[in-house]
């Protein structure tokens, strides 16, 4: 939506973390488009369903292509787009419910394939659009509209999950810091392989964690966010695991494996082994 559209009546709540993610994604796409001298229409944003998915309609300025699909399936849709046209820059935007719950089955295959796309996950620890149900990243014991006596499951640790599944680029960001976040997303897009930028993007209506994330010195609240130190070796998987044991929420690039070829390049290597035949030749094999 490049201009104000009176028919489109969806709005994020005031203060929603997704505003910052949108800004960061816009910056990342513009910067990358400029650096690579490619037009904005070389970008495809594949969105899931939920508050986060509406991001694709709310982007301002030059418009990328978009798909606002069905719940949980943004990754395999992106698989089709990317493998159909490997020169496109494909970005997935999804929420924690969309990406980790209903869509959770698609993370492992893309990690194994090293699909060359960047997924930006907006984690607010709650289902916002359906009004406040618990999600995989809701804290254990939390009271939500769907857990009136407290959430029975433990909170999923997405960063640990990605690392275990073999995602080749993993970063953690915060919607309250759009500029550094834009830089992380841009690095994710530049990464040749499957990258996930997992963003803390609080829901101001149902699960407002801004203060816990940022901390409040005056009231003695320590921030849960902490910057990954510059000396962290992002190519060291064990170091990344160790970092995650320190508690809180590290911000920055957690892991970056540049040694693996992405799926589209692996496919190219099969062309030499295969000998493509014309349709005439294929039919000819059945002649008698």
């Amino acid at each position: 939506m490049s201009k104000k559209n009176p028919e489109y009546d969806f709005k994020w709540c005031p203060g929603c973390g997704d505003f910052g993610v949108r800004r960061a994604l816009e910056m990342a796409m513009i910067n990358r488009a400029e650096e690579t001298s490619q037009p904005m229409e070389n970008n495809v944003v594949v969105a899931g369903i939920g508050c986060s998915g509406n991001l694709v309609h709310l982007l301002e300025g030059d418009q990328p292509y978009g798909i606002h699909g069905i719940h949980g399936r943004s990754l395999p849709i992106a698989l089709g787009v990317k493998m159909a046209q490997p020169t496109l820059n494909v970005v997935v935007v999804a929420g924690d419910g969309d990406f980790l719950s209903i869509g959770g089955e698609h993370i492992a295959p893309q990690a194994a394939r090293n699909l060359n796309i960047c997924a930006v996950v907006m984690d607010n620890g709650v289902y916002g659009l359906t009004k406040g149900q618990s999600s995989p990243t809701t804290l254990e014991g939390a009271i939500t509209s769907s857990t009136p006596y407290g959430k029975l499951e433990i909170k999923t640790n997405p960063l640990e999950l990605y690392l275990t599944l073999g995602v080749s680029f993993i970063a953690s960001g915060f919607s309250g810091q759009p500029r550094p976040l834009a830089e992380l997303i841009k690095q994710g897009m530049e990464h040749s392989g499957f990258s996930i930028v997992h963003v803390q993007s609080p829901c101001t209506t149902y699960n407002d964690t801004f203060i816990q994330l940022k901390g409040d010195q005056k009231n003695g609240i320590q921030p849960t966010l902490w910057d990954i130190p510059e000396e962290h070796d992002t190519s060291d998987r064990a170091a990344a695991h160790e970092l995650l044991q320190q508690g809180g929420l590290p911000v920055g690039v957690l892991y970056n494996d540049n040694d693996r070829l992405p799926l589209d390049q692996n496919v190219v290597t099969t062309w030499e082994k295969a000998q493509p035949k014309t349709v005439e030749q294929l039919l000819g094999a059945f002649e008698f």
């Binding site: 939506m1 490049s2 559209n5 028919e7 489109y8 009546d9 969806f10 037009p39 904005m40 229409e41 070389n42 495809v44 594949v46 369903i49 509406n54 694709v56 309609h57 030059d62 418009q63 990328p64 292509y65 978009g66 798909i67 606002h68 699909g69 069905i70 399936r73 395999p76 849709i77 992106a78 698989l79 089709g80 787009v81 990317k82 493998m83 159909a84 046209q85 020169t87 496109l88 089955e105 698609h106 492992a108 295959p109 496919v267 099969t270 062309w271 295969a274 493509p276 035949k277 349709v279 005439e280 294929l282 039919l283 059945f286 002649e287 008698f288």
Partner: protein, 571 residues
């Protein structure tokens, strides 16, 4: 009188060469100039398990597996026990006498085919021993078979001569062995060799190549019986630059991946069976509302859930035509023959690109695994399917208007959001009632673009007609031809285009007092759809996991026709 066709059934354990024997017989018969088709059922296990395949050899083209068995080749006792009652009273049972003995059945002839093959020095020539014996039974000249062997095994290798010698010896051994007995079936009329170039091909292979002839570029799939051979064929052959066939992690990934590829400008397809179509439900709805071209091939099997994975049924018509929630009715092409598997796939790709949406191509187990001789398609008459593509500047309104609009392709100007929510001109989500009305009518209106003119018809002056669909076409046509000969006043209609039906066909059907629909499901799905369109249709149903016998249809069509004619007279 000379025979015009005969059926041989091979029955044994999986892995004993049952399938290769039947296919080998069919293949050699077509090379001699006959028409042939096979029919197979498999156990749902890798090794062992009772399995059987039959081959029907005929002077004229045939489209059905055949009602009766002239010759049963029983590889073991269980196979004999399970199948001997299907053998005609004047038929022959050839059994593997190295393995077991049959007593008290004067149709049976023991042939130690494995031993005889071994004696030629070629253990793999057991098929040829059997074939030699069959040739004697139908009085087929031995030189036909010998020239077949010489042609087939002449592959330019050093060992060719020895392989040819041992196979011919096996043919002779089989023939001489049974010639010492008094068994004979008569004489098969000499072949009327078609003058055109032919292929011997299975339904799944025909679907695969047909889709490529129409310019398929992207295939994603997940293994499932009986559609897996399409995935395997694609992975071997849809390769190279700008082509990809890829195994994904579920049918949900299949449908969404081909949707992404279709959106990105590629002609895209997946093939699956009933359980896969169930999983694709939501993705098909997305392709419909977001107007993205793609093709789903449903190689039907039997029953709900896991059902009957290796049997044949036509019970997914409702599920394919109405696969998704919220006012969706998909274009359907249903192949009725192996040849139609090829042309149906060509049409399916063409339709998807033409109306920019999902198309279902339905086939079924009995066609997928059927090897049949068909005329070689003339590729010069087939064009790559074309999509109306947008080539203007940015600021385009993708979904403006009430009909088809050019589709922008990512990487080019015209960026828009392909939206699975109800949307406005530019693809943004909207909840306005008038928009939902406009877009719903736009989506249904595009179906008109797919209306075809051609369909089969015969004796249309009759007020009662037979109109089968899909793989039941074969037995239905065979029954119809017999009824026509006997003078029963029924007409014939057939099309592989089930939605939209050719408009002229629908008009004709509506004029009939009764349209009889043979179909393999409990609910009478196609007749139910026809009735909803104003056709007085009634089904003949069967749900055994096997195709119709022509004889059953002759009886039932006669019964229904006479009952209706009597009613009309009373009035």
């Amino acid at each position: 009188m000379q025979m015009r066709d005969f059926v041989v059934r091979f029955a044994g354990e999986g892995g004993q060469g049952v399938v290769t024997s039947a296919e080998g017989l069919a293949q050699s018969s077509t090379q001699v100039g006959y028409h042939a088709l096979t029919f197979a059922t498999f156990p749902s296990q890798i090794l062992g398990g009772p399995t059987w395949t039959q081959a029907r050899i005929a002077v004229d083209p045939v489209l059905a597996p055949g009602d009766d068995v002239n010759v049963l080749v029983a590889f073991n006792q269980d196979a004999y026990d399970a199948h001997h009652q299907d053998v005609l009273p004047d038929g022959v049972v050839i059994f593997n006498s190295t393995e077991f003995e049959i007593e008290g059945d004067d149709r049976s002839f023991g042939l130690p085919f494995e031993e005889l093959a071994k004696s030629t020095g070629n253990n793999r020539a057991a098929n040829m021993v059997i074939m030699g014996a069959l040739a004697h039974l139908i009085n087929m000249p031995q030189e036909h078979l010998i020239s077949f062997v010489e042609e087939r095994f002449n592959r330019g290798r050093a060992e060719d001569a020895e392989i040819i010698r041992s196979n011919i010896e096996a043919l002779n051994l089989g023939r001489n062995h049974i010639a010492e007995s008094s068994f004979s079936l008569g004489e098969l009329a000499p072949p009327e060799t078609p003058k055109y170039q032919q292929l011997m091909i299975k339904g799944n292979e025909a679907v695969s190549i047909g889709s490529m002839a129409a310019g398929l570029e992207f295939y994603a799939g997940y293994p499932i019986s009986p559609a897996t051979p399409i995935l395997l064929y694609m992975e071997r052959n849809l390769v190279g630059k700008d082509r990809l066939a890829y195994q994904v992690s579920s049918e949900i990934e299949s449908i969404t991946a081909i949707l992404g590829a279709g959106y990105a400008g590629k002609r895209s397809m997946t093939a699956t069976s009933g359980p896969g179509v169930s999983l694709m439900s939501e993705g098909l709805g997305l392709a419909w509302i977001a107007e993205i071209p793609l093709v789903v091939v449903n190689v039907q099997r039997g029953g709900p859930a896991t059902g009957l994975p290796t049997k044949t049924e036509q019970s997914d018509l409702f599920g394919c035509m109405y696969p998704a929630h919220g006012d969706v009715k998909l274009p359907i092409i249903a192949a009725g023959t192996v040849e139609e598997c090829f042309y149906g796939a060509v049409k399916a790709i063409e339709w998807a690109e033409k109306y920019q949406g999902p198309v279902i191509l339905m086939t079924e187990m009995s066609l997928a695994e059927r090897a049949q001789n068909i005329p070689k398609p003339d590729l010069s008459k087939i064009q790559e399917a074309k999509r109306v593509v947008y080539s203007g500047s940015n600021g385009y309104l993708r979904y403006a208007g009430n009909g088809l609009s050019p589709m922008p392709i990512p990487g080019n100007p015209g960026a828009y959001v392909a939206n699975g929510s109800e949307h406005d001109d530019m693809g943004d989500t909207t909840h306005l009632g008038e928009r939902h009305v406009q877009m719903t009518e736009r989506r249904f209106g595009k179906i008109k673009l797919l209306e075809e003119d051609d369909y089969e018809s015969d004796q249309i002056e009759n007020s009662i007609a037979v109109m089968s669909w899909g793989g039941s076409k074969g037995p239905a046509r065979e029954a119809y031809d017999k009824l026509k000969e006997s003078g029963l006043p029924v007409g014939w209609y057939y099309t592989m285009f089930l939605n939209p039906l050719p408009p002229k066909l629908l008009e004709e059907l509506k004029q009939k007092d009764l349209v009889i629909v043979p179909e393999l499901n409990y609910q009478g799905q196609f007749s139910s759809i026809l009735r909803s369109l104003g056709v007085k249709a009634e089904s003949i149903t069967q749900y055994t996991g096997l195709p119709f016998k022509a004889r059953t249809l002759v009886e039932k069509i006669t019964e229904m026709t006479n009952a209706r004619l009597k009613e009309t007279v009373k009035v």
